[in-house]
Structure formats: structure tokens, C-alpha cells
Amino acid sequence: MEAVVDELPVILQAFWLTVKLTVVSGVISLVWGTVLAAMRVSPLPVLRGAGTVYVNILRNTPLTLVIVFCGLGLGTVMDVQFSADDLSVDNFWLSTIGLSAYTSAFVCEVLRSGINTVPIGQAEAARSIGLTFPQTLRLVVLPQAVRAVVAPLGSLLIALTKNTTVAAAIGVAEAALRMKNLFDAHGSDIIPIFLGFAVGFLVLTLPVGLLFGWLARRVAVAR
């Protein structure tokens, strides 16, 4: 127990990094996932094809591999560098790219299936009362689609929060790697340290789950 109290600054620092990774990759994944979803439902076969290939590759590759590839490949082969003098910044962004590249494939699929929940009759009805194409999308289709994706997007956010630990594979000092280092330093306090970190993740994920659950119920489309 003492170890947890003594090392509290280190633990909080680790979770701050976890939160940063989650928020930044979450935003990027949402944007990039929306672009991918737009590609996958677009009328242009070339975009649909590219989107499908991307999603199928990223969804079926282990996240650990994606992050290792980003950490060791993007810099060395593609000359991607985010900071000339700070490796932690570099590693932060490389793992963020990995997390976002992976998560956006799932975001894309959630959004796409959200659109698929809207019955085709809705669009037909909208057209028959004389709405234009943008009006149909804005007033009829998208509002229903967005409501259907609230809950699954919440689950994705929770999964992403937990997945940030995989960045440990390339030495990002987030919660899991810090926990392991503390295990090494305080061999007899393994259980309190583990429980401390577990509580940290419960604190991060439970409110998100409750919020999205509440939101999903509130905006649910009665069908």
C-alpha cells in the first residue's frame, strides 16, 4: 500500500499520458474513421475499394503489430519525425498514429452499420415529399444514423482507452509500462500496485460507459 502512496506522482503521470493518448487518438480516429466510412459508402467504386482494403487490413492485424510497425517503421522508412530533440514526443505521436490507424477502421465500420440501420423507405419517403438530396441526408438519414452509433462509439472509446497500453511495446511510459516498472521496483507490493492501476482504469472507463449508455438511451430511435 505504501508503494502506491509513495509513487502516486508517477502513477498520476502515467495516467495523464494514457488520457492524452486516448483523447488525441480518439479525435483522430473519429475524423479519419468518418472519412473512411464516407469512402466505403460513396458511389465511386475506386473509393469503396480503397476503403474496404484499408479496413480489412487494419481490422485483422494485431494492434501490437501495428504499433511496432509505426514505432520502428514510420521513422526509419517514411522519415516521419515529430520532434528533433525529444524522443518521448516522437514515440507519443508514432503510437498515436498506430492507435488511430487501427481504431479508425472500427469507427468506420460502426458508422457504416449505423447508416445501414436506416431503412431505405425513409429516404424514399423523404424524396416523395419533395426533399432535395442534401435535405434528405441532413433531415432524415443522418440524424437516425448518428443516434444508432452512439453506444458502439462509446464502447470503442473504452476499448481505445485500454488499448493505449499497447504503446508500451515501443517504450511509451503509459500506465501499463509504469506499472511493470513499479512491480520491478517494489517486488512485495505487487497486489496494491496492480489494484491502484486497476482503479485508475475503472475511473477512466466507467464514467465513459455510463455517459454513452445514458446518451444512447436518450437519443435512441424508436422503431
Binding site: 459508402v41 485483422n60 511496432v68 520502428l72 472500427f106 476499448a159 460507459g209
Partner: protein
């Protein structure tokens, strides 16, 4: 487009023309991106034959890569069996009539779903040796996979059983079946049919997650690709790409199996329960848990 979409009208002649132009534009853009990537690889000598040739030789596969694949598959298989047992036990326990069974089961399931798998694996390694147990990397990986995926499967099981219409259980009680008979003879058989696609979906997730073993030096497929092969041929990037292809092929195959099962269970309708969508346990309705 052959399929009518909720998003688009059938294209007229002008739209078709515009689509063709856009197709050309985006096609060029995509080719350009591919060209830039290809060029960078070329610049860094990543297409050099000596980096890729090892993958044409049988020994590289039989001695370095396939042992890793075998370890990945065996960890996944053992963890899958244990997770299914864990999921069945805790999923049913959460539906118990007794609060002292229901609540602890719920706490266990919610706890392990909220903890990152990597933390569970680290904990198994260090906590196990603290308790004097022999914890191999295999055990640590399997332990983590079992607890995490077992908890997710518990939710799938619960959802599957709840998806069986109430009348089924009531009819069972009406003809004089006891509680466990109703569960065993009526609810579970129908629930299993409904859960099948979701279960297979979760097993794909489990298989992918074995790659976390890399971080604790479990000699899995990723370990073979990212450390063992490059130590011989110094071809980290090509090797990781080849290994990714292996993972993708395996997971796509499992994914098709899940789709096929879903279609079959939808067509067969031997169950009164509606199919449980993959990823139901994520708290959502359709997201797979990555």
C-alpha cells in the same frame, strides 16, 4: 452501384459523368500515394532482394516462423477453451436468482472487462511468481486472455440467454421442469445458436490479442517476425509486413466463418432468440471489441 442505397438516388447521365471524372481524380490520387510510399521504401533499400529472399526459403518458415505461429495458435486455442468455460459459468451466474451469486459474478465480469489485457498479463507474471507459482509467458498470456475474453463472453452468454423470449422459460416451468432443466434444455440450446456469431467474433479478437505476448517475450508469431527473423537477416520491416499478411489471412478466414455462421443461424431459425450481434458485450449493439 447495383444495390440501392439510402444515401443516393439512382444516378442520371450528368451524375454518371461527374462520377467518372471523380473516379479518375481519386484513382490518380491513390496511385500517387502508393507511388510515394513505394519510392520511400525504394530509397531506403527496403525492396532489396536479400531482405525478402529469406521468405522464399522453406527453412525460414519451418524453423523460425511456423514455430511462432504454432505458439500463437496454441495459446489462442487454450485461452479460447478456458474463456468459453469462464464465460459460460459467469454469464449464467449473473442471471442467478440468488443475489450472493449474481452480484459477485457481476463484479468479477465488470472488473476484468475494464482492465487492459496487457496489465493482466504483467500481473500474472509478477503476481504469480510472488505467490510461488511457476508462470511461463504462455501461462501469463493465457491467463490474461482467459480473464478478459471470458468476461466479454460472459456478457455474450447473458445477452444470448436473455434474448430467448420469456414465454419459452414460462412454458418450461408450466410443464413442470425445474430451474436447471429450463436452463439446460430450453434456454441454453436456443441461446447458443443465437450467440454463435458473436462468440466466433470474440475469438478473432482473442487470436489477435495473443500478439501482446510479444511484450512479455512469449515466442509467438509476432515475436518470430519482429525479433527472430530480423536477428538473422536484418530485415525488420519486410519481416513485419510478411507476418502481418499471415495474421490477416488467418483472421479474415475466421471472420468469414463468423459471417457464415451468422447467416446460417439467421436462415435456420431453429432458435426463438434473435441472433446476438458480435460485440454486444462491448455495451453497444454492433461494434466488435477491438
Amino acid at each position: 452501384m447495383t444495390r440501392a442505397s439510402v444515401l443516393y438516388d439512382a444516378p442520371g447521365p450528368r451524375t454518371r459523368l461527374r462520377n467518372n471524372v471523380l473516379t479518375l481524380v481519386f484513382g490518380v490520387v491513390l496511385l500517387l500515394v502508393a507511388y510515394v510510399v513505394w519510392n520511400k521504401f525504394d530509397e531506403k533499400g527496403q525492396w532489396a532482394g536479400k531482405l525478402w529472399r529469406p521468405f522464399l526459403e522453406a527453412d525460414t518458415w519451418t524453423e523460425l516462423i511456423l514455430p511462432g505461429l504454432r505458439n500463437t495458435l496454441s495459446a489462442a486455442a487454450v485461452a479460447a477453451v478456458l474463456a468459453l468455460v469462464f464465460g459460460a459459468v459467469f454469464g449464467i451466474a449473473r442471471l442467478s436468482d440468488h443475489w450472493w451469486v449474481r452480484i459477485p459474478a457481476g463484479v468479477v465480469v465488470e472488473f476484468f472487462r475494464a482492465i487492459p489485457l496487457l496489465m493482466l498479463i504483467f500481473f500474472a507474471q509478477y503476481g504469480g511468481s510472488l505467490a510461488g507459482l511457476i508462470v511461463t509467458e504462455f501461462t501469463a498470456v493465457v491467463f490474461g486472455l482467459m480473464l478478459y475474453n471470458g468476461s466479454v463472453l460472459a456478457e455474450i452468454v447473458r445477452a444470448g440467454i436473455l434474448a430467448v423470449p420469456r414465454g419459452q422459460a414460462e412454458a418450461g416451468y408450466a410443464v413442470g421442469l425445474r430451474k436447471n432443466q429450463v436452463m439446460r434444455l430450453i434456454l441454453l440450446p436456443q441461446a447458443v445458436t443465437a450467440m454463435m456469431p458473436a462468440i466466433v467474433g470474440q475469438l478473432v479478437v482473442l487470436l489477435k490479442d495473443t500478439a501482446l505476448g510479444f511484450v512479455v517475450a512469449y515466442a509467438d508469431l509476432l515475436n518470430a517476425g519482429a525479433r527472430v527473423v530480423p536477428a538473422n537477416f536484418f530485415n525488420l520491416i519486410p519481416s513485419v509486413i510478411v507476418i502481418a499478411a499471415v495474421y490477416i489471412v488467418i483472421n479474415l478466414a475466421l471472420g468469414y466463418l463468423a459471417t457464415w455462421l451468422e447467416r446460417r443461424s439467421r436462415r435456420g431459425r431453429r432458435s426463438a432468440a434473435a441472433p446476438v450481434a458480435p460485440g454486444v458485450a462491448a455495451g453497444g449493439e454492433m461494434a466488435a471489441v477491438p
